[in-house]
Symmetry: C2
Subunit: 584 residues, 2 copies
């Protein structure tokens, strides 16, 4: 490609509403253009990267035996009503009516449509397993679209759906997809981690997120550097930090703590380590009677150590909270504890509450907690002696850096990540709701065992940039760079030698299959270099009249500190070797 025949468009400054670096750089490099909040055009430069990502995904999905199809973007409400998602999904599901006032949704994913296809076209166990995938536009009407392609409303996603005879077979399909995802992210040239994730109502351990590691990531990912353990923060298991509960050494004492509400303030006042305090969190689960009418709320007191944080996903797995919970209102708190938040604790609530202690809290002795009286805390609190044992001991906190790994093989570290892929075992949730069955070898109909597997195609671009950039711009991994190399002639219009040698080099790279750009705009070196560094092309070769006299070209790798001199005769082979190495 010649620059004069391409649409190059770069900006010195990003638009003021751009929030994160990937968004700023993609806008500045002319890769995307905003059409509305969370809705972008993919410009020629950006689309080249998208197409490369898509090609890698497609190759690996096909290699894994999945079959590509395309399902509609505009999907009839009837299918969504069959699974109940028409009602359950909130405003993220963009609903619309056609000219005949029939209801439709824009696809955020396609479980319903693919299950409808399966129940019509997969009749026999002999047709299984099957895995259908599409690379297609999706729409989610995010409340607050932001971060460019990282959390857009319209985006491109690869979504795959597997159909199996049994849970065991579905496990094999899952493993095949997991392995395909590893190959995909390896080939994309990204540093990533596959982490176990929560399975929600489905249960089981078959849910993994593929997280691109980046300091700016929205997700916290937990891993053990000395073992294979890796999970997202929602799932990562927190063990007790105490070997056992120590015997009491202090007496229970009610201490004035005027104006001190947080554990840190209380610990500071009492000159005790924060690890001696216990934080009280009051939740409420609304009840309904048999007719579905509201029937009051059950109030729960959850206790975590003062330096720990409640993990709401874990709390949601407690029997009694599974159907949903909320933080209790001030009225409910006053009613049950006789005191406002800031002095709450498990000793002598006014009305009965269910008390859940985090594993570490259950092992604490001589701890500090609120006295259910404004301006007072208890010190020297001990389970069994000063208050009954908790109703339930459970893992209800987020792990923190340095916690023991739950596999007992090291201590945990935490990184930030950007979720770009998710593999998920669905079981029969959709096939039962839609009565999608096949005839098994015993002649009886059975519901399909399903899995779903997503990759955020456009989000990968943002994640790749969050992970790979510097002050000058993007640093693309070679496999997804819009161009692998650029030839920058200095003096294109003036020097026939520069023009001929540049054309020769360009032709040689092109002939070797390198995706190369020839910058024939006749711009000054500074302008060319700034553009290509912003755009993030991995390999740059500069040819000028002076260098050519000595048979020298200037080579600059995008990550290199400085340019190096390479004989003109060798420079094509030099670049080809590097490009091919990065592709493998």
């Amino acid at each position: 490609m010649r620059a004069s025949q391409f649409h190059l468009f770069t900006l010195k400054e990003a638009p003021s509403d751009a929030e994160v670096v990937s968004q700023k750089l993609m806008l500045r490099a002319g890769m995307i253009r905003k059409a509305a909040a969370g809705i972008y055009s993919y410009m020629p430069m950006g689309l080249r990267a998208i197409r490369k990502v898509e090609a890698i995904i497609r190759e690996e999905m096909n290699r894994a035996g999945a079959m590509e199809l395309v399902m509609p973007l505009v999907q009839p409400a009837e299918l969504w009503q069959e699974t109940g998602r028409w009602d359950k999904m909130g405003e993220e599901l963009l609903r619309l009516k056609d000219r005949h006032e029939r209801d439709f949704a824009l696809q955020p994913t396609s479980e319903e449509v693919v299950t409808d296809i399966a129940r019509q076209e997969l009749k026999s166990y002999r047709q299984l397993p099957k895995n259908f995938y599409q690379i297609q536009t999706k729409f989610r009407d995010e409340r607050r679209p932001r971060f460019g392609v990282m959390r857009g409303r319209e985006f491109v996603m690869k979504d795959a759906y597997s159909f199996d005879r049994s849970a065991e077979a579905a496990g094999r399909s899952y493993d095949i997809m997991y392995a395909a995802y590893q190959r995909i992210f390896d080939r994309l040239g990204l540093a990533y981690r596959a982490v176990a994730a929560d399975t929600g109502a489905i249960g089981g351990d078959r849910s993994h997120e593929f997280q691109v590691i980046a300091d700016t990531g929205e997700d916290a990912i937990v891993y053990c550097p000395t073992s294979a353990y890796a999970a997202n923060i929602e799932l990562a298991e927190a063990v007790s930090l105490l070997p056992h509960r120590a015997a009491p050494e202090e007496g229970l004492e009610k201490t004035p703590t005027p104006g001190r509400e947080t554990c840190a303030e209380v610990a500071d006042l009492l000159d005790l380590p924060l690890e001696r305090t216990v934080k009280s969190l009051v939740l409420a689960a609304d009840e309904v009677d048999e007719a579905g009418r509201p029937a009051g709320a059950t109030v729960w007191l959850l206790l975590v150590r003062g330096d720990h944080e409640l993990n709401e996903v874990k709390a949601g797995k407690i029997d009694g909270l599974k159907a949903g919970f909320r933080f209790a209102s001030e009225t409910e708190i006053l009613e049950h504890f006789g005191s406002r938040p800031g002095s709450l604790g498990p000793i002598g609530p006014r009305r009965p509450v269910r008390i859940v202690a985090d594993r570490t809290v259950a092992d604490m002795a001589d701890f500090v907690c609120g006295a259910n009286e404004e301006g007072f805390h208890y010190t020297g609190v001990n389970w069994g002696r000063d208050l009954p044992e908790p109703d339930l001991v459970a893992d209800i906190r987020n792990v923190v850096e340095g916690d023991p790994s739950p596999d007992g093989r090291g201590t945990l570290a935490i990184q930030r990540g950007i979720e770009v892929g998710h593999v998920f075992y669905l079981g029969t949730r959709y096939s039962e709701a839609m009565n999608a069955t096949f005839l098994d070898d015993d002649g009886k109909p059975k519901h399909f065992e399903m899995g779903c597997y997503g990759i955020g195609v456009t989000r990968i671009l943002g994640a790749a940039i969050e992970q790979n950039h510097d002050a000058r711009g993007i640093i693309w991994p070679v496999p997804i760079a819009p161009f692998e190399a650029v030839v920058c002639p200095v003096g294109w219009s003036k020097s026939p030698a520069v023009r001929e040698e540049s054309q020769r080099l360009y032709d040689a790279l092109l002939a070797a299959g390198v995706d190369v750009m020839l910058d024939d705009r006749d711009e000054r070196p500074g302008v060319m270099f700034a553009d290509w560094e912003l755009i993030g092309v991995p390999h740059r070769i500069t040819l000028g009249e002076r260098g050519l006299k000595d048979g020298i070209a200037e080579y600059q790798g995008r990550r290199d500190g400085e340019a190096s001199k390479v004989p003109v005769a060798d420079v094509a082979a030099f670049v080809i070797e590097r490009v091919k190495a990065a592709r493998a």
Copy 2:
């Protein structure tokens, strides 16, 4: 690809709501599956053909210097309001609201978005010409979606938009696209015709449709077999069929024609050729006053020969009818002619009407027309003598087979066609509405001269099948067949010789780059043949134990009357040669 690893799904009968042969065959061959009226999933077998069409289009668009991008499917109303299309477009434009009650449209095309991109990114004449294209999902909320992918609501379209400095330069861009379209349709292996089409309000002669020739096509295309003349029926020029107006030979006579209303009935009664009669059509153009309030209607009488048909597009080009017209109501007709339809004519209307004669009618003498009195016609009518010359003589009829070609170089023939592509010069219609300008070399801002160029990607599949099928199924042109060849082993599970030889042939074809399917389902030959003939794979090779003993394979081209015997040793080369020839 092996059949056992693919999703093969064929039906003996098409669903009862399928109307045309391409729709029936695509459903029976498992290429598409209906999700809602006019909304289809593209199944793996169908998607393979779509991807091949897309690849050819993409290659030729890139070769023509166009740049691929992707514009959003969900587009903000504001842009559509700038051009007025938000209001002007009817219900075909599917409108929706996001969670914040902001208005959006699903793209039927993308003139607004691309012009918005151009006004922001194309600042200087030095950046011109530019041509942006996308291959992307479109949505048009057709009142009556039908014919499968031929007139769907959600479909895939390639739409391109060119930006130029001047009308002359835009003409060059148009010619480049016209040539690219010829290469595309040549390479797709389709019999087609590029025909001049109406330019509507834009004017000029720069609009061509690319029509795939098929007896079942909705469009009539007109061409001259002995010259280059070709146009769609809306545009094709009808000349006078008479060399000059003959002198009157008959006297005017009012003849009773009780119960005879059509020209054919009257001619029959009077025993005259239909070519002696004149048909009266009454149109009305609603007027508005300066404040935009309705201000009555002007009534027009249009006259065509009894065997001819009014061409409404041509009528719409008459001064006074350009702003829109309708057929007059019975009340208006009674008011102006004193008679009901069936006896209307140009002699002595009760109130003044504007009379437009088709060119042939203006040259007629001694003709027959209604007498504006129920049950009576005039015979022997002559212009000038019996009634004034018409207010206007114009081409207002459809041409018919056998008419002289307007270029004077033969007579016209008519074929049916399916419009699959359209190239159109837009002028400054959109750039003026959106004030999209660039700085020209005189330092002054100028509006872009634009063109738009569409190809219906999914419709091409339907058109290809309408053109190429027989009683057994689809006959794909090789370049877009889902598979180019299929190897059918007879006795896959039982005969090691058949298995080995089939695998060897499959491997050889694959190695030569043939897109080949190995049917390893172990089905009977009848089942395999029926499936592959329905699906329309161009080349089939059958290997059975008996033939192999004599070193013979059976080859069947999809268009061949019968199979032929080819030595097993030669059959790979035989197929490879045929496939490569069809691709070139």
